[in-house]
Point group: C3
Chain length 253, copies 3
């Protein structure tokens, strides 16, 4: 049994953070809230999403199968479809109700009821394992500064380098004729671990991710040398958190 | 002889209510105002439009052929072209002047004069007869509630069911995987005739119509069982009225 | 040596006035400011651009080759690329720095550095000669009135006639079925030389130009009989000026 109520704009922010990486996925519903982990079809990007029950105005969950290991429900959801409908609601409340028997999720915004059939979890990709990673460097940056640089980068090239050089964090894009570089010193950032390393990433993925983080004030970039990038940020006013993981590109030369 | 002056935004609202169904049509000009009736090329939708002379800041008409039956001028107008020009004018006044001899309509907005050749009425479709219809149920609803549901429906399916179930009015769309339903009880509506009936309509037509009604605060839905839908609303602050008529789809099953 | 600082919105306005006619061009940098002259690929339109050093918050230039005739640097710039990046900057300051050795232009907006390779001037079209023209008629008109008419004209035809008839200035477009005409009497204009003449121009070019002039309050139209059109306006709050020159179309009849 799962029934909950949440602000439409909070739910939209959450769904947008997920659809920046995957269109559909297995949502795990448990007593303490919602969780999801998904990888994009090319196995290049991963999203980990958690939303605590406190983000809801009302949250009720009871496991239907009594067993201990089954203290969570796992449901397959087409997030792109759900996003389409939630966009219509402004700052209204959304009521959610799961019918596991019928394999339906009911949502209600005022007088508008939307029923979506659940996807068969066995037909969806398995929940990925999160690789064990250690990031030597962390950078905390204002989201808008990061997103603005990504928007400029899209006009120039396909790949973006993220790195630190001493006490400076930089983002760098090279096109055929031109080069864009954002350089921020430690005092212009919220946090920086000094170091000397960089990695190259596909801009398409970071562009998509930058749309998913638009409601967060700050993001944390976890960096290594020719290493995956992990971007962490909060949703739902701190009651939820999202991590994106992106594989590096090998620099050709 | 026809000469008139009208607010550009009122004229735009009127033209948009017409172009929601037809691109061109036969406008009848008489002493008490303007009238038009047209059907879409597929014969599925009809628009009836009336604008009283009081909607004009100035309105002068005199029949050129003295005969009694000819106490109106009938002119063929390309409304899509006319709309394109009127959109440029903000809240300016538009002067209209008909030259039946030259078969031209002159419009003037400030210093900008626009002359459009009339279409030959004999080349246009004949004015349709309005079928005699009796609608057992009337529902009066806020336009924005209706339009919002249509916008959500467009993301899901091709057909929409409109019906009443006791004291509830509903709009329902079923996609392959999902279902959207707006349900409004009598007290949430401006008016409802209780009953039990529904009809299915093509969403494309209702979507187009919903753009034509965007300036009206309320619309009246006239419903029957597997029956045409008639939507009535006012334009020009009550000095004009528009009716859309839409043939039902036969439910396959 | 060239180093300068300028408001991003002023620089954007300047670049947009150039890209209305050419994508790339030879920018001449001298002690008193910047100059550019370019023709479009079809040899139909020309832009002449001048920006005085006073438009800059800081402006330093020293010729590298000591010769007298070489008291200016000539650099080939892809203005469309540069515009793309400058659009990202709001009302920030932009720092410009030329490296003639490396054939690069450095721009910096806050922490964002953009380096663009210069185009080889010898690969660009030669700077056109400005033909000697004498315009019998001058009209000074509010830019917005002109641009609004162009927007309406785009819905009707491909050519536009500009002319004066006594003390009236007019713009006229004839489509297959319709005709648009703006007529402004002397007292509705900022200035008018009375006369009787007109010329026909390609609307595509004037549409592009009308985007380049959007920041100017007024424009001066220099007209003749079947003669080129010259449009003059100011940029950078009077510290720069732009002239567009457009060849007439021969009226077929």
């Amino acid at each position: 049994m799962f029934e909950a109520r949440i602000d439409a704009s909070v739910l939209r922010e959450c769904i947008e953070s997920i659809t920046a990486v995957v269109d559909e996925g297995r949502l795990r519903i448990a007593e303490d809230g919602l969780k999801l982990r998904g990888v994009d079809p090319a196995n290049v990007a991963m999203v980990s999403f958690e939303l605590h029950r406190d983000a809801f105005d009302d949250f009720r969950f009871k496991s239907e199968s009594g067993g201990e290991s089954a203290a969570a429900a796992e449901v397959g959801i087409d997030f792109v479809k759900l996003r389409g409908i939630i966009e219509i609601g402004g700052r209204e409340e959304v009521d959610l109700k799961l019918d596991e028997q019928a394999q339906k999720l009911f949502t209600r915004m005022g007088s508008l009821a939307y029923t979506i059939s659940l996807l068969d979890p066995s037909a969806l990709r398995k929940e990925p394992k999160v690789p064990e990673l250690e990031f030597p460097v962390q950078v905390i940056i204002e989201t808008e500064e990061f997103r603005r640089t990504i928007r400029a980068a899209e006009k120039i090239g396909d790949h973006i380098m993220l790195g630190v050089d001493g006490e400076e964090f930089y983002m760098q894009i090279e096109g055929e004729m031109d080069k864009l570089r954002l350089g921020l010193r430690k005092e212009q950032l919220i946090h920086l671990t000094p170091g000397t390393l960089h990695s190259l990433y596909s801009l398409d993925y970071i562009s998509a991710m930058s749309k998913g983080m638009s409601h967060a004030a700050n993001i944390t970039l976890n960096l290594g040398k020719d290493y995956p990038l992990q971007i962490d940020f909060e949703v739902a006013e701190g009651k939820g958190k999202v991590s994106y993981l992106l594989a590096p590109r090998i620099e050709s030369e």
